[in-house]
């Protein structure tokens, strides 16, 4: 599964994207964030407050309870500030 990071989430993780094998038992976007936060200091920093992080599956906004099964690309980013 491909993960992409944007803005300060990208800066804290230290890379714009990566391919990962999600361990069994992780079913939702929220669970994925909790697991990511355990992958090291930079991830812990990026995902220290998961409530503020937004997510998209295959380029569509999703909530933390969204299932990740079948997802090709999951993106994590801060609240948007365009316009």
């Amino acid at each position: 599964m491909k993960l992409r990071y944007f803005a300060w989430v990208r800066e804290r993780v230290g890379k714009p994207e990566e391919d990962i094998d999600v361990p069994p038992g992780i079913g939702t976007v929220g669970e994925l964030m909790t697991w990511l936060a355990s992958r090291g200091e930079e991830y812990a920093h990026a995902f220290e407050n998961p409530k503020v992080i937004r997510a998209a599956i295959d380029r569509t906004h999703v909530r933390p309870q969204a299932a990740i099964e079948g997802a090709g690309e999951i993106a994590f980013f801060p609240p948007m500030t365009g316009g």
């Binding site: 803005a7 300060w8 380029r59 993106a75 801060p78 948007m80 500030t81 316009g83």
Partner: protein, 161 residues
Amino acid sequence: MTIASTVRLQREPFDVSAEAAKLTRGRTDVGAVVTFTGICRGDEAGEQIAALTLEHYPGMAEAEIERHVADALTRWPLLGVTVIHRHGRMQPGEDIVMVATASSHRQAAFAAAEFLMDYLKTRAPFWKQVEKAGAKTWVDAKEADDAAAGRWSPTRKQAVE
């Protein structure tokens, strides 16, 4: 009735009047064109800004804007919509984003332009970083922008929190 719809993301500056003129060229059914231009301000909370950098999520940004343009077309009798959003680094005084809406009457054009801007600010995947006093900082999302977008949806289902 032809509906001219354009969504573009680009690094380069755009020409607001040329884009607005395209919405009325060769037709006489348009009675109103509203244009909104978002411009890079020279200060943020009283501090001078050297530049603004806009990061975006390629692919999703276009799709998200197109989704809201399609939504606007179902809500109002529009004859044309143009949304252009820049990304990359820009300096104070430069245009960042433009929305132009065309309709037979002004109400639809005004409302649709405001609707599109409210959604662009809260739902389109763009992030602003400002450079000031030698430091780069990410701009925080504003609750007022969420509230502005929320008023278009009675169920507020677009609010993530």
